[in-house]
Symmetry: C2
């Protein structure tokens, strides 16, 4: 491989010139090998925040990150493989019912998931609330479980796109997270390396999402769909609202409980709507003519959930952890819940212990927030509106502060706000 | 002092928000102390490349860099103090005759100077061609020499604005040198810390200058003049052409020889013109009603030069080093030298050994380029046009390549190009 002067490459990007394919290959490999210093990659990342990466640069950048590690393959499976990724939100436990629903329809769903940081939760943190369940799956077990059960939710191995792990840690401390091409390549490098031939993206927008502005979320969705398709992954994105939290619970055990409610046919309507919308996209990409609503109604999805949890050491019948302390916030008057801000709920759950400030922090399985009415629903003065849950009651006050101003009760229910905003299919 | 989250500050600058004075103080102090990591400052520097610093931010940034070190004072001197700084060019030995001329007129000129990097030479490298001369002057000797002789050209101590040294080294490897506020604060932090009450800037523009575009040079000049004045330093800038090299020599010993020619009343007219223009500005700022041309013509400036060189251990009568090898390039035809590119000459001198690629490299005292006609002057076919000088003749070919295309001989002398482009006085 040719060698380049990294300062020349930084200056080129800074001045708005395109990086060539060989330059990108060299940069990513040299950075991963420690030959390009952290401060040099930080300057490059900030230049990319301002100048972007065009489609060809982005595809090569992503492939170069993948090439620093291993590529998985699901070629030997008897089921069509399809994966899903959400950019993260509050109460976003959709993966939990979605993976077994899609698996129950005949697909294989290798769901490599992450942990929560800040006010958004992580799928692995949620599932760890289930006694015995482990996110660590040996490669051989992964294939066997995908064949037998159809769904695995596990931690990605360290071998997938190690450049991304190093670059993400750098971006996190240098104010360079907010770059659409860098976000897109970070997400997609792992998904492409994973070897899935099909991918459905849930790109969230609104106060509780990383992309607050809808236009940005749409741009990110378009960027990832284009990147996926250029890299041979059939990719579709739904842009969905995270202006208010999903469902009725934000936390770990409380979201698992809600997922089980969904699988029992009793979940909140917004969660069911989004889960089925994503399931239909996944099944279409997988080439399966199956009805996810039927898989849900028939109880087959619930059976798959139970098999999936057992397959990773969990006991689907075990009681979930319960918080040692709770505080109730009551409705101040009769009326309708007219507003519930996703960020406020997410920060409250985080402060109660459901989330972490640093990636090495532990989370409380039982901490979280329940809300007892959805937006547009009637409330009565004095009824419980929120229940705050934690094992560490000194956290209640700051959590309650986070909720203040984050909701309103009014005289009219208000117009319903759409959950599914846009579909982007390349 | 308050403490801040550096990522918040990077994001603020990235998103175009102003940094507050306390934020800037904290950032510079924490970076200098190693509490803000190099990669974080690199991202901040790149954000500043794109977003800039406004006048208030820049003043505080510069003061904060000064506050990381010591401040000198010339308050006890019997002469008015005035300093000069050039942004650097090819054949720019103006400081050498200028300092003794201004000193001979009654001012004190504490010229803290640097070394060359790349194709532009450094004043200290040039003077070190004089046998015995040393750039290291003890603080007590500095004051005594300024009182007795009036001019000292020496290396700044490590105590002046250490934040700037650390930040400059970082910018050099991260593609963040090219930022007008960062350049301005780097130059001015050392000049303000030095304690000079008056400063004349020679801001060069053209192919051989750091600022190739005149508009950029003017903006840098305005920025530095404003910064100096807000920090209590009476500052004037001349924007001058570096489209062609100054004088007739680029190198170290060859430029010293040219300076002595100027002081003997026989120097190239462009060098004399610029030297006297800068001297007049310096004397005006120093409040001295003296004629620098008279100081030159009378030989008093030459006497001051001799005293200045002796004051720092040098022998003004010693023979200067002579190159062991030379190669002559002849004029190909009769005509006029119509073009001579400063960058081509500078790179040729650099490649002959007069400059350095890395700051730890040595330079050759005798290496350099002489040109035997100025632009607009008549040349005859076969006359020597350039003399290349080096101790290491394997360098000739690449130096001659650098000159190729950098000059032209034509039928008409062409229009004279102005040397002094703009005067900026706040």
């Amino acid at each position: 491989m040719s060698s380049y002067d990294v300062v020349d490459l930084i200056r080129a990007k800074r001045d708005g010139r395109r990086l060539g394919p060989d330059e990108i290959d060299w940069l990513i490999a040299a950075y991963t090998a420690g030959e390009v210093a952290e401060e040099q990659m930080a300057a490059m990342a900030m230049a990319i925040v301002f100048r972007g990466l065009d489609a060809a640069e982005l595809t090569r950048w992503t492939e170069a990150m993948i090439d620093t590690g291993e590529r998985m393959s699901f070629a030997g499976l008897n089921r069509p493989v399809v994966d899903k990724h959400s950019t993260g939100g509050v109460g976003d436990m959709i993966t939990l019912p979605l993976a077994p629903i899609v698996a129950a329809c005949g697909a294989a769903v290798p769901q490599l998931s992450g942990r929560g940081l800040g006010h958004t939760g992580g799928t692995l943190d949620k599932l760890e609330a289930i006694p015995g369940w482990s996110p660590d799956v040996e490669p051989g077990d992964l294939i066997r479980l995908l064949d037998e059960v159809g769904a695995v939710i596990c931690a990605p191995g360290p071998g997938l796109a190690p450049a991304d792990r190093k670059l993400y840690a750098l971006r996190d401390v240098t104010g360079t997270v907010e770059s659409i091409p860098l976000i897109a390549s970070s997400i997609m490098s792992k998904k492409i390396a994973e070897g899935t031939p099909a991918l459905v993206l849930d790109v969230k927008t609104g106060s509780g999402a990383f992309m607050r502005q809808r236009e940005q979320a749409v741009e990110l969705a378009r960027t990832m769909v284009g990147l996926g398709r250029r890299s041979g992954v059939a990719t579709v994105a739904l842009v969905t609202s995270m202006a208010m939290p999903l469902g009725r619970a934000a936390g770990n055990a409380v979201e698992v409980a809600q997922a089980v409610e969904v699988l029992n046919g009793r979940g909140p309507s917004d969660v069911v709507e989004l889960t089925l919308a994503l399931a239909r996209e996944m099944l279409t990409l997988a080439g399966l003519d199956a009805d996810p609503a039927e898989a849900l109604a028939s109880g087959r999805a619930l059976q798959t959930w139970r098999a999936m949890i057992r397959g990773q050491g969990g006991d689907p019948d075990a009681a979930l952890p319960r918080a040692r302390h709770q505080r109730v916030i009551e409705a101040p008057r009769d009326g309708f819940l007219t507003r519930l801000d996703a960020l406020a709920v997410g920060v409250a759950a985080w402060r109660l212990g459901a989330g972490r400030a640093r990636k090495e922090d532990p989370v409380q399985a039982a901490a979280g927030v329940l809300w007892h009415a959805g937006v547009g629903e009637r409330v009565r003065a004095g009824q419980p509106l929120f229940t705050l849950l934690t094992d560490t009651p000194e956290r209640f006050d700051r959590a309650a502060q986070a909720l203040e101003g984050g909701w309103s009760v009014g005289d009219e229910p208000g117009e319903p706000q759409p959950l599914l905003l846009e579909r982007i299919a390349g």
